[in-house]
Every structure is written in C-alpha cells, then in structure tokens.
C-alpha cells in the first residue's frame, strides 16, 4: 500500500492545476455528474442529451471537443457518436464547442501513473483510477498524449446511444408505438410501417424529456462505421483551399500584429529603437509585450517588415549561451543527487557486467523544433465585458485561465473559438502566442488584434524537444544479451512546460525515460535509471515526447548488444520479449519484411521495437549504401492499438509518423549559440522531403485489450531502426542524432 500511496500522491500533483495546498476531493466529487455546457443558452425547441449532441429543428450538431491539428479527430470523434446515433456523414455539422469541465480527459490518467502500460495488475489499475478521479475533478480538457481515441471510444458512443434512445422515447410518446418497436437509421426514427420521423422534427419533443441514460452499447459485430474505411470530413475542404485555419480568420475591424521577443528565450528586453518602424507605411503603433515589442499594422507583411526594422538590446538568457555547455551539463548529471528514479532493476547488473563481453557506449539526442507549417497565430478581442480568442489550441480551459489572468477577467468571461490547426506536433500545447496577443489586445481594448508569427519568430521561440544523453553498459555471453545497465540524463520537459502553462508537475519525470523503461522485454539483468539534469533551454512536448530520444538510446544500445552477442537482431528481440501483444508486433514486421531473406549488395536492415503511449510498435528499415550516400529503400511497420477506428486515417498517420521520425533523425537539430537558436527557418531544419520518402508498408494489429491512439506512437521506433539498418549496411554505429553528422544521405 505504501507504493500505491506514493504513486497516487504523484498523480494528484501532476494533475493539479495550480490548486493551492494540493488537491483534496472525496468520492462524491469524483462521482458527481459534470454539468452539460450545451444546456446554457439552449434555444427553444432544441434538445441536448449530453455535452456532445445537440439537435434542433434545423440541424444535428456533434461536439468534437478534442482539437484537430491534422490527426483527423474531428472525423473520428463524430464517427464514434454517429455509430450509435445512426446518423451518416453529411447529415450533421461538427463544432469544437466551448471549453468545459465536462470534456475532462478520461484517458490521461493512464500515462500519469508510473506503471508500465503492459502492467494490468490490480495495483496499477487502482492507481490509474485514482489519477483519473483527479483529472475529472480538475476538469482537465486536453488534446495530447495520443489520448483522443481512448478518451472518446466509450463515452462518445454512449453519448450517441443516449441521444438515440431519447429520440426513440420522444417518437414513442408522439406516436403511441412502443420503443421496442422502433428502429433508427439515417437520422430518423423508423416506425414499424416504415414511416421515418426526422430527428430534427423530434427535437422539440425530445427536449422536454430527461435523457434516457440506461443504454447498452452495440456489439462490435454490428458496427457499420468503426473499423471500416471512412472519408474524413475535412478532406474536401483541405483539397480545395477552403479549409479555414486560425491564420485565415478575419474579424471585423481587426488589425495585424507582429512580435519580436528576445530570441534568448525568457531574457529581458533592455532597450529598443522603433523610430524607423513607426515611420513605415500603414504602421499604427508599437506596443510592449513581455520580453519584447509588437508592431501594429494593417497587413501581416507590413507588420513583419516593421518588426524587422526595430533595433533591440536583448538581455541574457538564464541557460548556457553555447550548445557545448548544454551537453556538458548533461554529462555531469549522472550523479546520485540527480537520480530522478530507478525505473527498472531486474537481476543484478553490477554482478553480471564484468569481464569478457562487456560493451559500453554513450548516446545523444538533440533539441528538435516542432515547426508546424501554419505558423502560430491568434486573434484576441478584449472588451470590458469579456474576451474572445480565436486560435487553434490543445489545452482550451488553461488558455482561458491564462488570458483571464492577463486581462483581469474571470475564466468564464473568456470565450474561446478553437480552430482547425495547420499542424502542431506539440507546439500548440504552448501559450506564448496567445498570451502575447492578449497582452497586445488588452492595450487596444475594443479592437480585435490578429498576431501572426513570422517563420523566423516561430523557430526562435519554439520550445524544442529536450536533449538527452544515454550511457550504456551491457554484457553478452553465449550468443545472448545477458545484461543492460542504461542511464539517461535529460532536463525535465514536464517541469519546463508545466511552469509556463501554470500547471506545476510533481514527482519523477517519466518522459526522461519514456521509450526506454517501458519496453516489456524480460532481460535477465536490466537496470534503467533516469537522471534529471538542471533545466536548460525551455523545452516542450514534441510528438511522442520523451520516446524519440530515450527510445533511440534504448533500442540502439540493445542492438549493439545483440550484434556483440552475434545474435540475429529480430530473433533476439523476439526471444527477449515476454509481453505477448508486443511479441506479435515484432513477429508481424518479421513476416511482412521476410526478415532473414537474401538482401542485395550494399543493403542492410535494422529492426526496432518501442512502446509509446501504450502502443507497441515495431519497424524494419531497409537501406542501401550508395555512392551518393545512404538511401532509405523501404519500411515495414506494425502497431497494435487494440481497435483501429478508421483504417485509412490509421495508415496515413502511421506513414506520417514514420516520415516525421525519419526526417528529423536524418537532418534536424536546434543548437544554441549566444543564447539563441541557430536554426532560423526550414532550410536549417528541413526534415524529410518527398524524394527521400521510401515505400512504407503499414499493418494495424488489434490484439491489445485497450484501445489507444496512433498520433505519436509510430515516431520513436523510426530513428533506431534506421540507425540499426545503417550499421547493418556499413558497419558504422550512429550514436548521435541527427544522423547526417555521421553519414551522408541521398
């Protein structure tokens, strides 16, 4: 019980949204139903059955509260409701809704507790339950951690079923036909004689009823949408230039703003000369924001030009000015004082790792920028009565809190209009653009202010993926891996990000070791320790967070040991893998790629397995060592999410995750010099382009007990699989990303 109490306490701290003195809540608070935000201001004759469905005489609206940054969750959330509601795509509208406690994330808790996702013991599940209670009480609405599908899978189908049964009850009352005689399809209730009553025509009657909440979800065998190829709701708009993103919005009377904030992140502005800028065409004024200034103009480009014309005297950053010093800090962090947590301690590594067959190595994973293609932006209108914000964001309620703190309003006086996002990869979990737009608009009350970041400002003020360093000692004997002693040092992304968001995080940071500690191998002797380095440059969650760094370190280390043992990389991983669902993922890529077959000259293959956000992922990469450099020929990847909601979107997201992981592993890093990021735009941090993209063969497995998301999990296995393939083809072991420091690529 002592263990559980420790873990539970940590879960509370992680979830605790700046609640003074910690969090206290009882069973009542956890079990209490949460208010339906759609009930406020509901029009006469309109019915809302729960926070996700609203029907009036004209239309059906499904609320899809998880933010859509390209992962297609507007469609998937709607499909889950539609499956039970018996409406088809085209028969309803969607809305992101207003931020509300009702949209608390039920899946977040799974990754807040320090139990391996493959651990389904009572203790682990009890801790998850307690952490989930904290998330509910705090009303944490967040799109992140690949949780949209696991959060939505049951509750949105229930929302659809509740609405359907209530509409049937309304039809029954209206017609006198028993509910059991009624069917539903195509947004209608169908009477035994075939008469179809439109849901919209039943809305007024349904509005007078208490929702029917005693519903049973349909059996998987009867699903008509889930698991079958869907056409995403946004695909037509996104193929015709008609999809509106935040950056495209115009609000009546709006002005354009561009900011220049100290590129030494968090540093002060000591002085500036804006005289030239103020005289430029259609520049209205220059105002101050935290750490910098903003130019107000009548056009985005004019604002950019004027901002570039300002001369600044920037203060120092509070982290080391030069990149070498950042690595030095990590190098010095493998100390007893900096030990964050011993995550695994199986067998006796100290006794085993001696004598013949000892292998040692050190690894590095760099800072990497998010750089979504739609630069950060926001429109804010501050009036005395309230604030409106238009932007794409992933933590809607905390956005309200932070804006209210700047303008002096109450949280519920901040109306947030969430927008489709042109990518995020984690950057839209951050608030700098929102806070700056609010600071500007607060100085111009009554005028809507649209802030657009230039690409250079976006790069300068990205909070990149954290750097990490790994040290491995291992032992092989008799053709087998006997022991792995792996230590990883990194600054805490949870601490850095949480401090900016006003969401303080407590306890050990599992992201320092994510992708390393949680892989369900049964190595006879395995120690995995996380060391928390002092905070360096501010860092943030980058698609799959800790796992692209720590996973690269873990799997490369394991591959080195397997090769040192003279074992087959696939066979030895399968031998060591004790978790059945994970082993099947490895066996799938072995079969898909015909592992072990004859390869052509100069070719090599690498395999990797990383579990990320509860999803076991295995990948095989094949490369050719050509005269012009390494060419990536083909990828085979398998992942198990329990249930694939939309196989088309699943394949697209997995392929995209592979491209994202490989591209950054090949050629991307953020380095600091004079306290500033040296990379200013895409030519300095390019990732993958189309000509480098190999064929990517995807298989979704459905053996896992729990449904999981697929946005992030495909990323971490890519880099180590590529590095392992390059080793197989060339004999050169790459222990540092980006790989173009060690080899050339075609």
């Amino acid at each position: 019980m002592g263990r559980l109490r420790t873990y539970s306490r940590r879960a509370f701290l992680i979830g605790s949204a700046a609640v003074a003195g910690g969090v206290a809540f009882g069973v009542y608070a956890v079990k209490k139903p949460v208010d339906n935000p759609l009930a406020d201001g509901l029009a006469e004759g309109a019915a809302t059955f729960n926070p996700w469905v609203i029907i009036d005489a004209d239309k059906i609206t499904l609320i899809t509260p998880h933010g859509d940054k390209g992962q297609g969750v507007t469609s998937s959330q709607a499909a889950l409701i539609a499956e039970e509601l018996d409406v088809e795509f085209g028969q309803f509208e969607t809305s992101f809704g207003q931020p509300a406690a009702a949209y608390w994330n039920t899946a977040l808790a799974a990754d807040l507790v320090p139990f391996m996702p493959s651990d389904e013991s009572r203790t682990a599940n009890a801790a998850r339950g307690i952490a989930g209670g904290a998330v509910k009480v705090l009303g944490v609405q967040i799109t992140g951690g690949s949780t949209t599908i696991p959060d939505s899978f049951v509750k949105l189908r229930e929302a659809g079923a509740v609405a359907r049964e209530t509409l049937k009850l309304a039809a029954s009352r209206k017609t006198g036909v028993a509910v059991s005689e009624l069917k539903t399809a195509n947004a209608t209730v169908i009477l035994p004689d075939g008469t179809a009553l439109k849901y919209t025509d039943l809305a007024a009657d349904a509005a007078a009823l208490e929702p029917v909440t005693d519903v049973t979800l349909r059996d998987q065998s009867t699903w008509r949408m889930i698991g079958k190829p869907m056409q995403r709701l946004d695909v037509l708009a996104k193929s015709t230039g008609t999809q509106v993103y935040g950056i495209d919005l115009e609000v009546e009377g709006m002005v354009h703003a561009a900011v220049k904030v100290n590129p030494r992140q968090g540093g002060k502005i000591l002085g500036y000369d804006a005289s030239a800028a103020k005289n430029m065409r259609d520049v209205q004024k220059v105002v101050e924001v935290t750490g910098g200034v903003a130019v107000i103009a009548d056009n985005t480009w004019r604002a950019f030009q004027a901002a570039d014309a300002i001369e600044f005297d920037w203060g120092e950053a509070d982290y080391p000015a030069e990149q070498d010093s950042h690595w030095q800090v990590l190098s010095e962090s493998f100390t007893k004082e900096r030990l964050d947590k011993k995550w695994r301690d199986d067998g006796d590594v100290d006794a085993v790792i001696t004598g013949e067959g000892v292998v040692e190595a050190e690894y590095r994973s760099p800072y990497v920028a998010h750089a979504p293609l739609e630069p950060l932006n926001a429109i804010v209108l501050v009036e005395d009565a309230g604030v409106q914000v238009w932007a794409g964001h992933q933590i809607q309620r905390q956005l309200q809190v932070l804006v209210a703190g700047i303008t002096g309003h109450e949280q519920d006086e901040v109306i947030f209009h969430n927008q489709f996002m042109g990518g995020s990869f984690g950057h839209r979990l951050e608030f700098e653009n929102i806070k700056q737009a609010a600071e500007i608009a607060n100085q111009m009350r009554g005028t809507p202010v649209k802030l657009t970041y230039s690409r250079e400002e976006d790069f300068a003020h990205d909070f990149p993926r954290h750097i990490s360093m790994g040290r491995m000692r291992g032992k092989v004997s008799g053709g087998k891996v006997e022991a792995l002693d792996l230590s990883i040092a990194a600054p805490s992304v949870a601490a850095s990000q949480g401090a900016r968001a006003g969401l303080p995080m407590g306890g050990p940071d599992s992201q320092i070791v994510a992708g390393a500690w949680n892989n369900p191998y049964a190595l006879p002797n395995y120690r995995m320790q996380g060391y928390r380095a002092p905070e360096l440059a501010p860092v943030s969650s980058w698609r799959s967070v800790g796992a692209p760094g720590a996973g690269f370190i873990f799997d490369t280390a394991l591959d080195e040991l397997i090769h040192a043992a003279g074992a087959d990389p696939m066979a030895e991983r399968i031998r060591l893998m004790q978790h059945e669902t994970s082993r099947k993922v490895l066996e799938a890529v072995a079969e898909m790629s015909s592992w072990g077959g004859e390869l052509g000259p100069n070719k090599g293959r690498g395999v990797s397995f990383i579990e990320s956000f509860g999803v076991p992922v295995a990948e095989v990469v094949e490369v050719t060592n050509t005269e012009d450099g390494i060419k990536i020929d083909k990828i085979w990847i398998a992942a198990d999410v329990g249930t694939v909601v939309d196989p088309v979107n699943f394949e697209n997201l997995v392929q995209g995750g592979v491209v994202f992981g490989l591209g950054h592993a090949i050629n991307c890093e953020i380095t600091y010099s004079d306290g500033m990021a040296e990379q200013e735009n895409y030519p300095d941090h390019e990732a993958m382009r189309l000509y480098q993209c190999p064929e990517i063969v995807v298989r979704g497995l459905e053996n896992a007990n729990h449904i999981r998301g697929i946005g992030e999990p495909p990323v971490p296995a890519t880099a180590p699989a590529l590095g392992n393939a390059i080793f197989a083809a060339t004999g050169k072991r790459l222990r540092e990303m980006p790989f173009n420091k060690g080899v050339e690529f075609v």
């Binding site: 940054k69 390209g70 992962q71 297609g72 056409q231 995403r232 946004d234 695909v235 037509l236 708009a237 996104k238 193929s239 015709t240 230039g241 008609t242 509106v244 993103y245 950056i247 495209d248 115009e250 354009h256 065409r281 056009n299 985005t300 480009w301 004019r302 950019f304 750089a371 979504p372 293609l373 739609e374 630069p375 489709f420 996002m421 042109g422 990518g423 990869f425 657009t452 230039s454 690409r455 250079e456 979107n649 697209n652 997201l653 392929q655 995209g656 995750g657 592979v658 491209v659 994202f660 735009n681 895409y682 030519p683 390019e686 990732a687 993958m688 382009r689 189309l690 000509y691 993209c693």
Partner: protein, 152 residues
C-alpha cells in the same frame, strides 16, 4: 497596380515589393494560398502565373507579369480539378495546410508533363514540404490524377 486573379482583375494599392502572397491573402482575401516560410523553402504559397507554378512569397507585386491562378481558381468543392479529385480520393490531407501548394505544384507538373515518371514526380514535388508526412499519398494522388487526365 492591376493584378488578375482567377480570371478577375483587381486594382491594388500596395508597395511594389510586397510579395504576391500577401497581396492575395491580406489585400484580396484569397486565403487558399498559405504562408509557411517566406523564403521559398516550403511551397505552401504555390500559385500559377500563366499556368506555371511559382512561390508567391518570392514574387514581388510589381513583377507579376501574367494571370494568377490560386487553388480557388483551379477548382471548387462542387467542380473539382482532376488533381483535387485525386487528392480527395486518396485522402491525402492530414493537417492540410501544405496541400493547396502541393496541388498547385502537381497541377503545373501535369500540365507540362502528362505522364511523369517516378523520378520526375519526385523532382517536381520535392520543393513542397509536408510536415505531417503525407508523401506516400501525394505520390499516389499525382499518379492517379495523371491517369485521369490522360484518359481525358
């Protein structure tokens, strides 16, 4: 100065060096064309001038010497161009922000070369960045559109 966009002539009062991208987006309200990098490294701002793909962030307003076509002029949701139809059928888009530029680039390629080889597709499309990594579907959509256009 005068500028013709999607068949319609507009009189705009802008600096000669304002990039076409911003004339389109902020002066004329044509939002299908996107700002991504401002240095011709991402291709999100790709439009056609007299049918040829250009990066509108690098074309000064005073240098626009032909008719401009944006994604809105290529086709509409109820009257898709073959390239757009292929993009829908292949379900290319994730975030979709780069796709206007990708589609304009592909349409320009196919207007010039009705049956591009894999290498020619790679070469023509590699200036357009997709951060979500939809490249496998972009390739498939370009090939599907080429086939449709050839079958006429």
């Amino acid at each position: 100065m005068q500028i013709t966009v999607n068949g319609k002539a507009h009189e705009v009062d802008v600096e000669g060096d304002m990039p076409l991208l911003w004339v389109l987006r902020d002066e004329l309200g044509v939002k299908g064309v996107k700002y991504g990098c401002g240095v011709a490294a991402c291709g999100a701002c790709t439009v056609h001038i007299d049918g040829v793909a250009v990066r509108s962030c690098q074309v000064a307003a005073e240098d626009v010497d032909g008719e401009v076509t944006t994604i809105e002029g290529l086709g509409q949701p109820d009257a898709l161009h073959a390239v757009q139809a292929a993009w829908v059928a292949q379900q290319v888009a994730q975030c979709g922000y780069c796709q206007s530029g990708q589609i304009m680039q592909a349409a320009s390629l196919l207007a010039e070369n009705a049956a591009p080889s894999d290498d020619e597709i790679d070469e023509a499309m590699s200036g357009n960045l997709c951060r979500c990594g939809t490249y496998p579907r972009i390739r498939a959509a370009v090939k599907a559109a080429a086939k449709t256009l050839q079958e006429g």
